[in-house]
């Protein structure tokens, strides 16, 4: 009964007093709700978008053939038809279906061979697909014609099937011919049929062909990517005992050079491959909510101050402190709840905008993916709301406690007196956090399933430093104000300095909120700048050839087909080519995760090609019995061979040992690369297909002529000089940081909005001060200028504290997080000019925020 009456009282206070305050400051609270919702939205949006962009299985054929249960793959993720013969016993069992798949990317082009759309060509045995239980149920037909001719398309050489979405995009219909580039060739394919896809499952870049057709179009005769296994009794998919029995039966006959794995593991593998990337984004997406929490803290604290007389009255009337405490906590809860609910919607909108960017990045850096439909799950809703509530309640806790503890007599006696948060004035918390961050730096990284490292200590250190800096930023404000004060001649400036030097809780919280955003943004931009600088340096040293050849239309890790070897052999006969450095790559299976195995001219690479060497060739002792290899820094760090040693890699030719004799810097991928001689590579993998070639010419004066001539002769090949290649690479680089930039800007925008809100609270809280000044002869413009200078001071202090923290974060990102996550060392670049401009911007925004908020406050007072 007692508890119930107290609850009723809390509810009464909330509805009769709190919401009336909200009504009177509607704009203020709407902005606060907006900030919470953007904070929750940024987190949820990135969460949904990265899931949609990277968590698919990458098995695009499943839009046609349905879900598979197991995958049969080789360690290099390429198969040959001969491998199928070795699956003989498996191919006869009626309890499952084996689905061989070949896939590759092709580029649809117009008549002038300009790219229209990047397409994913999937080759399946369209005849055998008819055996699949799902396909039989859905009656996906590959022929419109009479039953008598149902198999007539078998053996057709260039006929393909597309879904309605792609037909609409390319404006093609049945019978039309489509020109495209693949593996260096320009070819045509005829649309046999537009697949009926009432549920819209077929991606808009999917082109389906019979296996021989796809092999022919991709110039990969006899080539396959994998074999998928679909159980016949699909209604038993949830029966783990049955699946385990099937797996055991499959394993009994799997040839030694092939691997069987449940398909669902692929999603986990892929998720772990992109885990570091997604974690970075998640942490970045927390900026906005973290800044938002500061703003809630600030707003509720301001509310407590504003309503102090009311609190005192209530206390005098017998309302005890705990009721007030819960009332304020409930206010934070309502703020959090409303903001989070709106935030879930905002997240959906942000995800729509971000998903394309993230898919591009995943495609460029990790693996071929396509955007899955954004799916707002109940978990997303719950996570978003819990996050918003958690931050709001945490932020509301202190003001609520403040309201509970303030003695009424003291408050009634002292008007707008505000003790503020003592912890904000005490530097030991901030210093403690900075030191704690330093300790976390000593933590080793966490080794993930994919073989990547998660720099957990680095991330916690970053968090500690940001929070520590935010706590200490109030002191920076006070010190700066103290320094500036002697230079302030006018009363307006002196007033602003004096108020800043007082360093009220509100001022300190306003600076702290900004510092969180500024430090993270400065740190991220610094890391991106360092990355860009390093890549440019790497290009200058590494890319010294005259021309570079690759497959046309291929822009990332997810789309590699390679060049038809016969075509490249023909091209290399050009009379002006002095030497060609031909590179072949494939994935290889180390003991953990995945890495890249390259076949190169190892003598050229070690003696002649320019590299940024971490360890020059010959400086590491080779282990006898192992194949000599040049390895990337990432590879060396991942497998602990910085000082030499042996790494075992699974290849189609069995387990092979490699021993590094040199380590080069490489920024191509985070999984590392080991380069062995081309002959050995071909022997191990059984493939000959090159991925690219760097050409050195006899007559450099004919460089452009040679390039143009080769371009005309080989329209399916991308032929660029060093400058053009650099532009493409930097384009990909910029693309990969699109989401990072966007998130940083969202965080900053929230922080600016928070500054405006914070300043408004500050002015609101200083009503008596302003009235006194007005009586003393202060004009409205003087008041507005003083407010502007106060805002500028907050911006400047936030910049100083944030930039210093940002520099430390930059160092942390470059030397700890990047090294541990990706295994590469970047040249630390401090973009001083940008940081200075950022300072000017922050001060300017502070000034403007001060003017705007004081002007609005003044307007409302009237």
């Amino acid at each position: 009964m007692y508890f119930r009456s107290r609850l009723q009282l809390v509810w009464l206070l909330l509805t009769r007093t709190t919401f009336r305050h909200w009504q009177s400051k509607l704009g203020h609270y709407l902005l606060l709700l907006g900030i919470v919702s953007v904070g929750v939205g940024a987190f949820n949006g990135i969460r949904q978008a990265s899931r949609a962009a990277s968590a698919n299985f990458g098995l695009f054929n499943q839009a046609v053939s349905g879900q598979s249960d197991f995958l049969i793959e080789s360690p290099v993720q390429r198969l040959r038809e001969q491998d199928l013969d070795r699956l003989g016993e498996l191919s006869t069992d009626p309890d499952w279906h084996l689905i061989p798949v070949i896939e590759g990317s092709v580029t649809a082009v117009d008549e002038a061979t300009d790219a229209r759309k990047q397409l994913r060509l999937i080759g399946l045995d369209l005849l055998a697909l008819g055996n699949l239980p799902t396909l039989a149920q859905e009656s996906l037909k590959f022929s419109d014609e009479d039953d008598a001719n149902w198999y007539d398309w078998v053996g057709s050489e260039s006929e393909v099937w597309v879904g309605q979405k792609l037909a609409d995009v390319l404006n093609v219909s049945v019978g039309d011919e489509l020109s495209f580039l693949a593996s260096g060739h320009l070819a045509k394919m005829k649309i046999r049929m537009i697949l009926d896809d009432p549920n819209g499952n077929l991606p808009d870049d999917l082109v389906l062909a019979d296996i021989p057709t796809a092999q022919s179009l991709l110039s990969r005769p006899g080539g396959l990517n994998r074999v998928e296994v679909v159980i016949d009794q699909i209604d038993r998919r949830e029966d783990s005992k049955y699946l385990s029995n099937i797996e055991n039966r499959l394993l009994k006959y799997i040839p030694a050079n092939l691997r069987l794995s449940p398909t669902q593991n692929r999603a986990a593998d892929r998720a772990s491959m992109t885990a570091a990337f997604r974690l970075n984004l998640t942490i970045l997406s927390l900026i906005a909510i973290l800044v938002g929490a500061y703003l809630i803290l600030q707003a509720l604290d301001a509310a407590v101050v504003r309503r102090r007389a009311e609190i005192a009255t209530l206390r005098s009337l017998g309302v005890d402190g705990s009721v007030l405490f819960f009332t304020y906590l409930l206010e934070a809860f309502v703020l959090g709840l409303l903001g989070s609910v709106v935030g879930v919607g905002v997240g959906q909108l942000l995800a729509l905008g971000a998903v394309g960017m993230l898919a591009d990045t995943v495609n460029a850096l990790y693996f071929a993916t396509s955007v899955e439909a954004l799916d707002l799950t109940m978990v997303d809703v719950v996570v978003g709301i819990v996050l918003g509530l958690l931050f709001s309640m945490l932020a509301g806790w202190l003001p609520a406690r403040d309201a509970n503890q303030t003695p009424p007599a003291q408050v009634l006696a002292r008007g707008d007196w505000s003790p503020g948060f003592t912890w904000l004035r005490n530097p030991k918390y901030g210093v403690g956090l900075l030191l704690l961050g330093g300790i976390f730096l000593l933590f080793p990284p966490y080794l993930m399933k994919s073989g990547s490292n998660m720099p957990v200590g680095g991330f916690i250190a970053a968090g500690c430093w940001i929070l520590g800096a935010a706590l200490l930023s109030g002191h920076v404000l006070v010190i700066l104000a103290k320094w500036f004060r002697p230079f302030c001649m006018s009363p307006v400036a002196r007033l602003a300095c004096s108020r800043l030097q007082d360093g009220s809780s509100r001022h300190r919280l306003a600076v702290a909120g900004l510092v969180v955003a500024v430090s993270m943004v400065t740190g991220m931009f610094q890391m991106i700048d360092s990355f860009r600088g390093t890549i440019e340096e790497w290009f200058d040293v590494r890319f010294q050839a005259d021309l570079y050849i690759s497959e046309s239309g291929v822009t990332g890790a997810g789309n590699i087909n390679g060049i038809d070897p016969a075509l490249l052999d023909e091209l290399l006969k050009d009379s002006n080519i002095r030497y060609a450095d031909v590179m072949r790559v494939c994935n290889a299976k180390p003991p953990m995760g995945v890495t890249v195995l390259a076949g190169v001219d190892i003598k050229h690479w070690s003696d002649e090609a320019r590299q940024i060497w971490l360890k020059k060739p010959g400086s590491i002792k080779l282990v006898s019995g192992a194949e000599p290899a040049l390895v990337s820094e990432t590879f060396a760090r991942r497998f602990g061979v910085l000082k030499g040693g042996v790494v075992e890699l699974e290849t189609p030719a069995g387990l092979q040992k490699i021993s590094p004799f040199g380590i080069f810097c490489d920024y191509g991928n985070e999984f590392g690369m080991a380069a062995v001689s081309s002959d050995v590579w071909m022997k191990w993998t059984g493939f000959t297909r090159p991925i690219n070639a760097s050409l050195f010419l006899h007559d450099l004066s004919r460089l452009e002529e040679t390039r143009d001539r080769l371009r005309i002769k080989y329209p399916g090949l991308d032929i660029r000089n060093e400058r053009e290649l650099r532009d493409v690479a930097l384009g990909i680089f910029e693309q990969t940081f699109q989401a990072t930039n966007a998130l940083s800007l969202i965080g900053l925008a929230v922080a600016f909005a928070g500054l405006l809100l914070g300043l408004f609270s500050i002015f609101d809280e200083s009503t008596q001060t302003w009235q006194t000044l007005k009586h003393l002869g202060f004009s409205t413009p003087q008041f507005i200028w003083a407010a502007g200078l106060e805002g500028a001071g907050i911006g400047l202090a936030a910049w100083v504290a944030g930039a210093l923290t940002g520099l430390a974060l930059g160092w942390l990102l470059v030397f700890v997080i990047n090294v541990q996550s990706f295994g590469w060392t970047l040249l630390w670049t401090v973009p001083l000019e940008s940081i200075l401009w950022f300072g000017a911007l922050l001060t300017g925004v502070g000034l403007l925020s001060g003017i705007v908020s004081s002007g609005y406050w003044n307007f409302r007072r009237r």
Binding site: E81, L84, D85, L87, G88, S91, T92, D93, P94, D95, L98, P100, D125, L127, A128, G130, N131, A136, S139, D146, D147, A148, N149, W150, Y151, D152, V154, G155, S156, E157, D210, I211, P212, T213, Q215, S216, P221, G222, D232, Q233, R249
Partner: protein
Amino acid sequence: MKLFTSLLLFCGCACAAEWIEPPAFSSKGYRVPFPDYVPSFPHDHGAHREYGLEWWYWVGHLKTESGEKEYGFQSTVFRVAGDPNESNNSESNAFGSRQLFLAHSALSNLSTRQYLHSERVMREGWQARASMDTLGLQVAGISASIPPNGKSHTLITKYPGGGKLELELTPTKPLIRFGDRGLSRKGDGASSVSWYWTYTRLKAEGTLTQDGETEKVEGVAWMDHEISSSQLGQGLAGWDWTCMQLDDGTEVKAYRLRKDDGASDRWSAVYWIDQEGGLVQVYADQFTWEEEDDWTSPQTGLTYPTTVRITADHPQKGKQTYFLRPLIDNQEFTGNRADNAYWEGACEVIDSKNRVIGKAYLELAGYGGGLGARLN
């Protein structure tokens, strides 16, 4: 014995209906079986790729060594040629061929009344192969081969759930060539003929593995090998077919080719094979095929006349009545498409005095529609 069989065949031909000379090629461009062809074995047990359609078909009744469990089995491999007028330039060995294969396998557990079946459609390549020189089939879960001694052949069939039937099949009678001048006619269309070669009684011995247990089985089987390029004549919707293996050591094969209106085509026939392999045949005007009872599939909704009475005038023995009753109702082969479903199952044969005189396999095809179009 072969000579004797040929003579009997000739006698059969002499009393047959009108002769229609088949063309050399079908309208689709496949070769058409020609008359008076004398097959050479084991070569002709192999595939005949230039012909449009071909199948190898085994059915039989088995029981375990203890006699406690009884089974019926069906294993069929079909070969369907792709468009003969289009070349196939693909270099792919595993997928390039335009020859398609279908494997149908079914096992009727007569003791538990369970029916297992499986269907696969494959292109010639890594999952389907057929020798052109001898019986050498490997199509999905069915494989058949002739061991070096050549007297018997091996049939291995896999079933869902890890089951496997391995049989050694030894002919106890000579191979029969059905039809006039070696051509079995399936309709009035000139091309609607086949080479139809059968081992009407094979001694079956082997093992059956199910649920991890392997048991010895033995029994009697039947094997057809039929080659054609137009299996059904125009206007035919399907067929009802049976092979009976009677306890007296004789066999009866009967089929009616059903017209679109349900009537029997005149080329429907009944064949009697005596203990020595002698053959006597009559056509549609000398037998009746009456539907005594039917069964409706809960899965496809199709209704099959699974209990039938065949009454035929044997040229020497006079009127003969065979009442066929299924040993299990549900022996429907549903396949991947409902309109492809057919009923094929183990039956017992009962004479006019209500005595069980043998066992049979009954096939009821074309009740889902669309079969005629595919096999014309």
